[in-house]
């Protein structure tokens, strides 16, 4: 049996979607950066209020989740359905960790009366973080469906385009966070 390596991995159509999504985030990041130039002091002041430790845990959660997804893809390509399923469950679990931590952060902001209208920094921070948060939820739904199908034995070394498609999307969600975290929390 010859090993099929697709490039780009997964369905081509997901890459169009990923490009479009990155364009949305890209525009938001650019707008953030340009606005920050004129409001350096304000941004620095309120950036200090953010919970960098929570964000660091979240970075670890998403990175490890992405790693587990990769292990799941590798496993399914080796026809190890059981292992693939377990790795995928771990990936979902780490995604849920992100959601829990982030939800806690949001509720903290709400308790402090912070809204989109508080100031320009919070407008950008809340918009970006919440938009990304929604993407994590969508990604988790996709991974959940993949895990469910894996459990039913729907994928194999020959039939795994959907797994790669979902994995590609999840890496995009991860990638956006890897830009969002240093840009908004650290720099």
């Amino acid at each position: 049996m010859t090993k099929v390596t697709r490039y780009p991995p997964g369905e081509i159509i997901i890459w169009l979607f990923i490009m479009a999504e990155l364009l949305v985030f890209g525009l938001f990041f650019a707008a953030y950066a340009i606005t920050r130039i004129d409001n350096v002091e304000l941004f620095e002041l309120y950036q200090k209020n953010l919970d960098t430790t929570a964000a660091l845990y979240n970075t670890i959660a998403l990175l490890s989740s992405s790693y587990f997804v990769i292990r799941s893809v590798i496993a399914i390509k080796a026809d190890e359905q059981k292992n693939a399923y377990r790795w995928m469950l771990l990936a979902v679990a780490m995604g849920l960790v992100f959601i829990v931590i982030k939800t806690d952060e949001f509720s903290h902001h709400i308790d402090n009366g912070i809204t989109l209208s508080t100031n320009t920094f919070y407008m950008f921070y809340l918009s970006l973080a919440f938009f990304h948060y929604l993407h994590v939820i969508l990604g988790l739904v996709i991974l959940g469906v993949l895990a469910h199908n894996m459990n039913k034995g729907m994928y194999s070394s020959k039939e795994n385009a959907s797994v790669e498609t979902g994995a590609s999307y999840w890496h995009m969600v991860d990638l956006v966070w890897l830009i969002l975290f240093p840009l908004v929390y650290v720099m």
Binding site: I13, I14, L16, A20, V24, A31, S117, M123, S127
Partner: protein
């Protein structure tokens, strides 16, 4: 045509075309009133002509969508329509409501119309696009509910396809957003905000689903490309349309008193609204290039391809032109908006309805797959006449708009008053009127295409 119940689509299509003719007649009258202010005054004042022009547009497109659904859904679901009788009854109710409303606008002063229809019991009248008397609005809701019931029951009992489901989501969205026509908060900011929910969340949100679904259907039928390929495109297109369109509608909230973040949300998300339209263009041309068979109905393919291009230009490019808040600060409510409105409505929604009519009508008239070549040639002439004149209408209005914005809003202390500028840009209004008359001629040619070549044999399947 596989199912006899698909026949109920025919009266819907005929009514759509008849009302389309009415819409364009009033467009031409109004175009003349731009330059000859008292033209047909006091019989048809400008504000009434405008109301008729925009209301007829919406109503005939709704007729078109319903006809399209009644034709497509049974075919996709591979079963007869749940209740053809209900569809016929609703047709007459909707038509009667539409005609009564237009006559009301034309024959009675608007305030009197409000009074005799007891608008004060539940005031909903007076807002742009939503001028219909409350009782008519209630009628529209009843028609919409009966229609959705009929379509849903058909889908439920038959084969479930992505195309049908996307259409259904679009139609449900259409009905749900219409309910905001009844919400009339006393806070003027909220009133404006929710007003945008009706027509604008349609055109840049749920109607894009209807457009995508109908386009995919016509393409599957005329190209024979695998359903699976087309469905994948459809998923991505509708996801992008909803992500960009629903929040992108925020570009209407810039200057009505909403919080400042709408400047950013509206700008960023709406700036990406051209993406789904661009995807639709690529999608349509890709599918036609990959076609597995030649279809004898060339006219339908032309409308479908034309729709994908003109929707991208009109909705995508002309929309982007003035969507960023710092640009819109100067351009909002100018002739640039009118230019965008004309090409976007024509490109996206008029053309998709004409595409599905072009595809379905031959079968509804008892043909196997297509009209005679003679009829198709006339129809394709009408395509070019209408499309090219719409391009010119758009260009002339854009030129008028740029001048208007410059002279009225960007010239500092030397800025001129509105009416003075209207005189200065008169030449563009005359040219727009000329292009409008050619559009009307194109439409007459279009109607004629249904009557020529009827006795001639069907166009043959090209080898």
């Amino acid at each position: 045509m596989k199912y006899t119940s698909q026949m109920v689509a025919k009266p819907y299509f005929i009514a759509a075309i008849a009302l389309f003719v009415g819409q364009i007649l009033f467009g031409v009258i109004m175009g003349m009133q731009y330059v000859v202010g008292d033209f047909l005054f006091p019989e048809i004042p400008f504000n009434v002509a405008r109301m008729v022009h925009t209301n007829l547009l919406i109503v005939w497109l709704l007729f078109g969508f319903m006809g399209a659904a009644y034709y497509m859904v049974p075919d996709e679901a591979e079963t007869e329509l749940h209740s053809p009788l209900l569809a016929k009854v609703m047709f007459w109710i909707f038509l009667a409501a539409g005609v009564v409303t237009i006559l009301g606008y034309l024959l009675v002063p608007y305030a009197t119309l409000a009074e005799i229809t007891m608008n004060d019991l539940l005031p909903t009248m007076g807002r742009e696009f939503l001028e219909q008397p409350t009782i008519i609005k209630i009628g529209i809701v009843i028609v919409a509910l009966a229609f959705l019931y009929n379509i849903s029951m058909t889908i439920l009992k038959g084969r479930k396809t992505v195309i049908n489901l996307v259409l259904l989501i679009g139609l449900v969205g259409l009905a749900v957003f219409f309910l905001f026509a009844f919400y009339n908060p006393s806070n003027i900011v909220l009133d404006k905000l929710f007003w945008w929910f009706v027509v604008h969340l349609w055109v840049e949100g749920v109607w894009e689903l209807i457009l995508g679904s109908l386009l995919a259907y016509v393409l599957i039928k005329t190209t024979g490309v695998d359903r699976e390929v087309i469905e994948k495109w459809l998923y991505v297109i509708i996801a992008m349309a909803l992500i960009t369109g629903l929040i992108g509608t925020g570009h209407h909230f810039f200057w009505i008193g909403t919080p400042g973040y709408w400047q950013w949300w509206g700008s960023i998300f709406s700036a990406l609204e051209p993406i789904p339209f661009f995807m639709m263009t690529i999608f349509a041309f890709n599918m036609v290039n990959k076609r597995r068979r030649q279809h004898p109905n060339k006219a339908a393919v032309l409308w479908a391809l034309g729709c994908s291009v003109m929707a991208f230009l009109g909705a995508g490019v002309w929309g982007f032109m003035h969507t960023l808040s710092f640009v819109n600060y100067y351009t909002h409510g100018s002739q640039i908006t009118a230019a965008h409105g004309h090409m976007a409505f024509y490109g996206a929604y008029v053309m998709i309805v004409l595409a599905i009519i072009s595809y379905a009508m031959p079968m509804l008239n008892g043909r196997k797959a297509a009209n005679s070549m003679k009829s198709q040639v006339v129809e394709m002439w009408s395509f070019w006449l209408m499309t090219v004149s719409m391009v010119f209408i758009t260009l002339f209005l854009t030129a008028a708009g740029i001048l208007q914005v410059y002279l009225q809003r960007m010239n500092g202390d030397a800025s001129l008053p509105f009416m003075v500028i209207q005189d200065k840009i008169e030449i563009f209004y005359w040219m727009r009127e000329g292009a409008g008359i050619i559009f009307l001629i194109g439409l007459i040619v279009y109607v004629a295409s249904f009557f020529v070549g009827r006795d001639q044999p069907e166009a043959e399947m090209p080898k």
